[in-house]
Symmetry: C2
Subunit: 479 residues, 2 copies
């Protein structure tokens, strides 16, 4: 067991901090609540970006860049939007040595400034749909912050689209929710539950907000990505109008959708173990690390030669594996193992004089520590297969854990009992009112994570008010 | 000639604005001096990023992300640094509904906050060299702004490295200057002159600043990228110390280097013509556009089928060409030509019923309008060859223009005469003092762009003071 990492069972929040420190993923900065994303952590973000960006482009989106600073008056144009974001704004009042005529806020999200530009660019139905994404930093002044999960500044992508009809905007909203779901499940190996947010948990200014939620190992839920159908709310606030096919001036229908560096926190909390980070192979910046082992100096050359041969072989695999050879001669093999275990690299190949002789390497899986000698001959087939097994195994383990901690309850007493026993995902009937949701939150800290898409309609009564309910919703304590 | 673009000869600054508007590269934003980079412009930035990022990684660098906001007190720790940047800072005084205890500035550059973190991370020579790059937005409150060339907010990359010795830091500084030079010349087809900045034009806080400078079509110079040997200045200001191989506590030697979205302005002003943008093939997000042409509806199917065949063929070329098929049925072919000409796509292939019959396509070069029919049979070889000719031709044209507008002068009278005749790059002797440089700048608006590396030592006398000079330096009016 790693001595620099607290056990999960002992103190989960401390374990989380320790994993980040041990893996050198991120660090606290001198500005309260702002983090530094260190190279190991940033490489995970780059891997996430690469896959998502390709998918966004394949689904017809293009990237652009809008200004960091937004006139304060823009934020106030959409009533719910200002109510939601005003308390979290960072405000620039002085620049170039002078007080500004109008304060500028650092974007907490860009619907307003993008809406302003869309009003300028969109004239006719021929300009629609407009499908733009932006990779950017945003700032929301949070009081309680946690590396990756909730930081004052964070990195994200925000898609902003404009359409001719409600139906088309709704289609886009759900399509991008599906993109997030597929990415999280297939690449990050995180099983997620998709659904709509209740009215009182919507994005400020949205008509409907959809979310994907995942269960962490401490049985809390994490909202990982959201997709919003903004209706005509922002189009009306920013005068985004177009001449329709019927030659009428109409307001456009817009959407926005985003995911953030918070996903890295999700990967840590879903897959990590008491030795630290575990990165799913499809996401891992380094999928395989080769560690040469030798005692006598004269063995060095042949061991390295063999290690290089393995590296070259794996580099030629279709789709190219991402392989590193740890050639630091000032570290002992055990220190190297420790180094890569804590960085979450899914597979290690140990190469010593015996392996040279046998023309093989000893593979060691990060997830379950299983060892398997693999001969050079079959390496190009076997290593990708082992990585696929790890990928599938991580997903299945997370799914099994989630199923084991998902329950249906019929009464509020039962609901509270589940939370007292350690929590998890709780499916219960709710009367649809903000008041009931608030009472539950105040008394139990659990909130409605979403009205899940996969849950069938079912007549029932609210566990608090006894009023009728048409479907169970998903409750959990959350980040 | 494009009616929406002013001729270069008539009004170069207006031509520049018109090219950007016609190509939909960028737009002014409601925040003074901040630009919106539109999808066509952003795709060029993404292409620049992709190539540079790969090169940075190949030269041993890793990416990370540091906070946008910097405590105001950090900026003041390095005396020259604060003097240089204080007038341009945007300042956050309020956040989360409260006045901050200490003002935070939006990073104008990140030496200070990165220096603070390096002091925390670097303990021993084993932690060196530390080679980190960051892709980010920065803000400098400029009074006179111009899209891409000088904007309040801009996108850039900033490399920050720490080393054991002066020599190693100097090696890194020059290596990255060479990376910029190679990228600009080989990918952007922009010939550049590398050299050192004179003392009074150095980056605030640097020991030595190096630059690459290019000549625009209006005979003004543009500084395109810089690389700084920071000596131990920031190490001393931020206490970046390491235990040396001799077990002594030493200050590290640091460097920084960066290039920005300004490069897009350089591409426009070096290659553009009176019809708009021309993007060098190696940089172009779309290298080839296929435009189907037919008059009768019954020709549509076979023309599109043939166009798709060409697209598929070019998509299989080694290294994969980036090809678009313009299938908008509501636009006439001439409108499509116009659209792609103004977006700078280097090669167009027109495909009509006759081309279907001949199993060929008519290629039209963006740079010189040369037409050449190319049969499907040889397309996979001939199209890449034409693109290579365009790439080489753009570079040669720019180089010829630069050579035609480069002169050596022996006297200040001659110097002023060259500027009166339209300017260009002027090589002249200078006594090395700030006073002389200032006098020249005040009287002619020309500045010392650099002390070029390629100019041999040569005994001479300063054209103003008559004092001795050891080498000619490069003067020009500039952006």
């Amino acid at each position: 067991m790693a001595k620099n990492i607290t056990a999960r069972a002992e103190n989960f929040p401390q374990w989380y901090q320790d994993v980040i420190a041990a893996g050198e993923l991120a660090d606290h900065s001198p500005v309260k609540g702002c983090m530094v994303i260190r190279p190991t952590g940033y490489a995970i973000w780059e891997a996430m970006q690469a896959t998502l960006d390709r998918t966004f482009k394949e689904t017809g989106h293009v990237n652009a860049y809008f200004p960091l600073l937004i006139p304060e008056s823009f934020i106030t144009k959409e009533a719910e939007h200002v109510e939601g974001f005003a308390p979290e704004l960072a405000v620039v009042t002085h620049a170039g040595g002078k007080e500004l005529e109008e304060n500028l806020v650092i974007r907490p999200t860009s619907e307003t400034i993008i809406g302003h530009m869309y009003a300028k660019w969109i004239k006719s139905y021929r300009d629609l749909p407009l499908l733009i994404n932006q990779w950017a930093n945003v700032m929301r002044w949070e009081l309680r912050t946690r590396l990756f999960l909730r930081t004052t500044e964070f990195l994200w992508q925000e898609g902003h689209t404009a359409h001719e009809t409600y139906e088309e905007a709704q289609g886009e909203t759900l399509k991008m929710l599906q993109v997030y779901q597929d990415f999280l499940q297939e690449v990050c190996a995180i099983p997620v539950i998709a659904g709509a947010k209740p009215e009182h948990e919507k994005f400020p200014g949205a008509r409907d907000t959809y979310t994907v939620e995942a269960l962490m190992q401490d049985n809390k839920a994490l909202q990982i990505a959201t997709s919003h159908n903004l209706g005509q709310n922002f189009a009306k606030a920013f005068e985004i109008k177009y001449l329709s096919r019927d030659n009428q001036l109409e307001y456009a229908w817009t959407t926005s959708w985003g995911c953030t560096t918070r996903m890295i926190g999700g990967v840590i909390m879903v897959h990590g173990d008491d030795d630290g980070l575990i990165i799913p192979p499809k996401l891992a910046p380094t999928q395989v690390v080769i560690v040469p082992i030798f005692k006598r100096a004269e063995e060095r050359e042949q061991v390295y030669e063999h290690a290089e041969k393995i590296k070259a072989k794996l580099g030629q695999v279709l789709g190219k594996l991402r392989v590193s050879l740890d050639s630091r001669d000032d570290l002992r093999p055990s220190d190297k193992f420790f180094h890569w275990v804590q960085r979450g690299v899914p597979l290690r190949i140990e190469v010593g004089p015996m392996d040279v002789k046998k023309q093989s390497g000893m593979t060691v899986r990060r997830d379950n520590r299983a060892k398997e000698p693999v001969s050079l001959e079959v390496m190009a087939e076997r290593i990708p297969a082992i990585l696929a097994e790890i990928q599938a195994g991580l997903y299945q383990t997370a799914l099994d854990r989630r199923e084991a901690h998902s329950v249906q309850v019929e009464s509020y007493a039962e609901f509270k009992e589940v939370l007292a026993q350690g929590g998890g995902l709780i499916y219960a009937h709710w009367d649809g009112t903000r008041e009931t949701a608030q009472q539950i939150q105040e008394e139990t800290k659990a909130t409605i994570r979403c009205i899940p898409t996969h849950v069938p309609a079912e007549e029932g009564v609210c566990m608090i008010s006894g009023k009728p309910s048409e479907q169970r919703v998903l409750f959990a304590q959350s980040y």
